[in-house]
Amino acid sequence: MTTSKNISKEKELLIKSRTENLTIVREFVSSAVEEVNAPQDIAGDVVLAVDEACTNIIKHAYKFFPDGDITIKLKYSNNTIIIKITDHGSPFSPDAVPTPDLKKYFEEKRVGGLGMYLMKSLMDDVHYKSVPGKYNQVVLTKKLNSTN
């Protein structure tokens, strides 16, 4: 089940924690950033970062439980796109995720952690907030005139 509503320059999407909904997430973000005339490469970066954030929530916060809620709020002001993604799954500690060393990953056959590294590389800022027992939130920020 998904719902979306338009709040002036703020848009919101609610999805259930299933990987099949990633297509809906990408289409939502893609159309929202198109409306603010984001350049195509930046639009692509934002779409991928939100996909990675939602994928991490589905896998780690909800551990593939299919009926958790994920809310995506997208706001545009001062030439900046701000996306707040909220879930009610297990709390997440970003400091516990090391920056991946690809050589080491190769040797240890580990494949996690790439998503968070991509998010940090593609966005100007990635900020996590966790209120145990209530919600977790990741806030992605991307300036439109950014070259990052």
């Binding site: 990633l22 490469d41 692509g44 996909d51 190769f106 790439l114």
Partner: protein, 117 residues
């Protein structure tokens, strides 16, 4: 629902895997199955053609990481080819060009396997 499919072409000892559509956490298992099928048959010389791949996320990149070691242990390799700039940039951001050979064309990738023999 994300659209993703693979098809395989046999070319002597080499298999060319064509990716089409959107490769994300939902569709990555489909690529895992494709690689598993090749590995189970002892087909370790693999060229992956990205010409028709519109999108990749880290879940898709993880599939390449998961199989490369076993394939190289068996004197094989996964060589990548025909990526769009957008897809290449994601591979590049994560440092994949250090670990994988990436070619402009399928012919170059196939030729590289044939040179080794």
């Amino acid at each position: 629902m994300a659209e993703f499919s693979t098809s395989i072409k046999d070319q002597g000892n080499i298999n060319v895997v064509y990716l089409r559509g959107f490769l994300d956490a939902h569709t990555a298992p489909s690529l895992e199955n494709t690689f598993s099928g090749l590995v189970d048959k002892g087909r370790y010389q693999i060229v992956v053609n990205f010409k028709d791949l519109a999108y990749i996320s880290s879940a898709g990149l993880g599939v390449f990481m998961a199989f490369i070691e076993k394939i190289r242990e068996n004197n094989g390799d996964i060589k990548l080819t025909s990526m769009s700039d957008k897809v290449f940039n994601i591979f590049d951001l994560l440092g994949f060009p250090l670990l994988y050979e990436i070619f402009k064309t399928e012919e170059e990738a196939v030729k590289k396997f044939n040179e080794i023999k």
